[in-house]
């Protein structure tokens, strides 16, 4: 396997060819905030939190902003992950997310286990400078085990991807466009009536916020297992499972 060398925030780092800039950053012990990305799922580059500045080697072309999750590392790239401008943009992106939905941590099931909350802390957002939109959304509690609260949805599409790529059921999808986008179950029907749903709960495992939850959990009781897609994917690819002995 060929190896690439690049610079992340001034530190040289070697990664296998095909690695993403996010993986390269981790190899350099640099934490780049992410929200829509989840290891084990295909990257979509939607939340724009992991944007980094990249200079191509040698050619004096202008610095580009690229999503670290979905951009392949390249030989000799110079990557900057935390410039003042990037920090400003990230804070604005998180503010836009908070202003767009109805996110009230105090009585949210995911309080304390919420990646949106963590992102707000990471980017130093203490309040939103954008007016809250208070959209009218709904809650679907028709499923026997789980509930989806669209007020808390940030449209990261992790649920769509895990159901499609890992579970193979493709229960979830996105309907409408722009600010009217919403996650739908089946053919835009109550979740509990979707026969394709296997009730595996992987969508609840991966949801970064309190939008998807077990319906017997209440404030700050969210049970998430966001490492599960990566475990499942590597187990399938290496044909090796925890209960068959050996390292995962």
């Amino acid at each position: 396997m060929s190896v690439l060398t690049l610079w992340v925030d001034g530190a040289a780092v070697a990664v296998p060819a095909g690695a993403s800039l996010l993986e390269a950053s981790r190899a350099a012990n640099v934490e780049v905030p992410t929200l829509c990305h989840l290891d084990g799922l295909a990257p979509v580059g939607a939340c724009r939190l992991c944007l980094v500045e990249v200079d191509l080697p040698g050619d004096g072309s202008p610095t580009r902003l690229v999503p670290a999750c979905s951009t392949a590392a390249g030989e000799g790239l110079v990557v900057r992950t935390a410039t003042v401008q990037l920090q400003r943009f990230r804070r604005m992106a998180v503010e836009l997310l908070f202003a767009e939905g109805n996110h009230v941590c105090a009585f949210c099931v995911a309080n304390g286990a919420c990646e949106l909350q963590d992102a707000a802390v990471a980017v130093g957002m203490d309040h939103s400078r954008f007016p809250f939109q208070y959209p009218r959304r709904h809650v679907d509690a028709s499923h026997p085990h789980f509930v989806i609260d669209h007020h808390r949805c940030i449209l990261c599409t992790r649920c769509v991807r895990v159901c499609d790529e890992i579970e193979g059921a493709h229960v979830w999808d996105v309907a409408n466009r722009g600010s009217h986008c919403q996650i739908i179950a089946g053919l835009d029907q109550p979740w509990g009536t979707v026969e394709a749903c296997t009730s595996c709960g992987k969508c609840v495992d991966v949801c970064p916020t309190g939008a998807l939850a077990h319906n017997d959990d209440t404030t700050a009781e969210k049970r998430a297992a966001r490492e599960r897609p990566a475990l499942l994917r590597s187990a399938r690819e290496r044909q090796r499972w925890h209960n068959q002995g050996g390292p995962p």
Binding site: M92, A93, L96, E100, L155, G178, S179
Partner: protein, 525 residues
């Protein structure tokens, strides 16, 4: 030459009653007795000056005249105008008020390359198209040149993508051709969605065989054996004519083993973005995805895919027939050839103009377009010209001498875009206009990435505050910051360009923005 009446049958003239006029002409001719000398009545593509539709061009022994806004009741006189000079003279005198002066700059300054046979041929007849040379360049290329030589000609011609971004076409073709062996796809992007843009529609409705020939040459040059034309569903006439043209050309075996099909869009502006367009063709939600990988590397069903705009492909037959050097002699150093613009808004002569790149905005808008109706002065009453639709910006009248090319417009904070040019008069508020385009971007955002989905909503609300005189200096600062953020961080070109109408207003019409700030209770703004 037999005398002929060419009736514009493009969408603009049809909406002005073109079909009824053509019907009246046919009836008048049969009443007059259709002998050998009876004029031919032919439906043709766009005759350019849409604002005077329905247009009829009369070709007779007494020369060619273009008539506009002719009521159906005067069909008999139009027929008479085709006759030999003594008879035609009286009819032509009677119709004088409808005659359009072809020496007017609107017509005289046009340099038809892409539109060279649009308006001459019947778009529903492959025989007519072939009589005017359609497919001869394709066959000559295949007989005399190698695919690499064709690509070289395109590279030397300096042609750049006419969809707006201006990527060098030859380079794109090479990138697709030089991918590892395997199947390749060709896609013509006919999802023309900018408000005020109707250039590609004219090609599709008026000269579909030119696009098909350009596609066949492109497919041969890059090694694609399948192609699609992605047309927006809002162009029903274009779709019908394309389908007919494809059926005819395939029945004649002109395309060899190349298979071309029409794919109709489903009403999403964002599907004009190439990665969203590919997703839409594959039956998925029309969302853009990050590039790289570019479609040239990874496109339809994983195969290398060449995507070009309609006008780009329609320029190909002329380039290869005339030679790359001849085409490159038109235009400017960085932007070769000609560009078709659709002129609309507050302008006297609305319609299509094809001019060499580098023609000044003043020439197009004031000299050819005639300026604002009733407008006076050197600028013809023009306040600004909007180019590039919701991705472009407004260029103020003071900069009308700017040559129109890719770099020139970008330096002014606008962009070439696909070719829509909307003329703005003095009565129009620039903030209102910026709000109109932002509303468009809000409605058409696919919703995938945060800056475009949520950021444009906030931008629109900020603009509302300005338009309602409620804005504070803090709002102005936030408008600047948020525009910069949406521009820098959005996923696709549409999101990245969505702030452009606002940014160009802030840059060129700053006084209008400042005077829209709310007056504080103390009196000072």
């Amino acid at each position: 030459m037999a005398s002929m009446l060419r009736c514009c049958s493009a969408s603009g003239c049809r909406s002005a009653g073109g079909e009824a006029l053509q019907q009246a002409l046919v009836e008048a001719r049969s009443r007059a007795g259709a002998g050998d000398g009876a004029p031919v009545i032919k439906a043709v593509g766009c005759l350019r000056l849409c604002s005077r539709g329905p247009l009829v061009a009369v070709d007779g022994p007494a020369g060619s005249v273009l008539y506009g806004e002719v009521p159906s009741a005067r069909a008999a006189e139009l027929l008479e105008a085709c006759a030999a000079p003594p008879r035609a003279a009286a009819a032509r005198r009677a119709l004088a008020s409808h005659a359009l002066d072809l020496r007017h700059p609107f017509f005289a300054l046009q340099e038809p390359v892409v539109l060279e046979t649009c308006g001459l041929i019947d778009p529903e007849s492959i025989d007519d198209a072939m009589a005017h040379g359609a497919y001869s360049t394709l066959h000559r290329c295949q007989a005399e040149l190698t695919p690499a030589q064709v690509r070289e000609q395109v590279r030397l011609s300096g042609l750049r993508g006419r969809g707006g971004a201006g990527y060098p076409t030859g380079l794109k073709w090479d990138t697709v051709a030089l991918q590892p062996p395997g199947p390749r796809w060709l896609v013509a992007n006919a999802d023309e969605g900018d408000p005020g843009a109707f250039m590609d529609r004219a090609v599709l409705e008026g000269d579909p065989h030119r696009l098909i020939e350009g596609m066949a040459i492109a497919a041969w040059a890059v090694g694609a054996d399948q192609g699609l034309i992605y047309v927006r569903a809002e162009y029903p006439l274009a779709i019908a004519r394309l389908r007919r043209a494809l059926a005819e050309v395939q029945a004649r075996g002109q395309l060899g083993s190349l298979r071309l099909r029409v794919r109709v869009g489903a009403g999403a502006y964002v599907c004009g973005e190439e990665t969203a367009l590919l997703a839409s063709i594959q039956g998925r939600r029309g969302n853009p995805r990050p590039r790289p990988p570019y479609p040239a590397q990874l496109g339809l069903w994983g195969a290398p895919t060449l995507i070009n705009n309609v006008e780009t492909l329609a320029a190909i037959p002329a380039i290869l027939r005339r030679g790359a050097a001849d085409y490159a002699a038109l235009g400017t150093a960085g932007s070769r050839g000609t560009k078709v613009f659709s002129l609309s808004g507050a302008v006297r002569h609305t319609g299509l103009v094809e001019v060499p790149m580098g023609t000044s905005l003043r020439t197009i808008v004031v000299t050819m377009g005639g300026g604002v109706p009733g407008g006076e002065g050197a600028d013809g009453g023009v306040k600004a010209v909007q180019t590039g639709g919701p991705s472009g910006g407004c260029i103020p009248a003071a900069l009308l001498d700017t040559p129109v090319d890719y770099e020139g417009l970008r330096a002014l904070g606008s962009m070439m875009g696909s070719g829509g040019m909307v003329v703005i008069d003095q009565a129009t508020g620039m903030l209102e206009l910026a709000r109109y385009f932002m509303r468009f971007s809000v409605a058409e955002s696919c919703g995938k990435c945060v800056p475009c989905r949520a950021g444009t909503v906030q931008l629109l609300q900020l603009l509302d505050r300005f338009c309602d005189q409620r804005a504070s200096p803090a709002d102005l600062a936030q408008l600047h910051d948020l525009c910069a953020m949406v521009k820098a961080t959005s996923l696709c070109g549409l999101g990245q360009c969505a702030p452009n109408p606002v940014l160009s207003t802030l840059r060129h019409f700053h006084q209008e923005v400042v005077s829209a700030l709310a007056v504080a209770p103390g009196g000072a703004p």
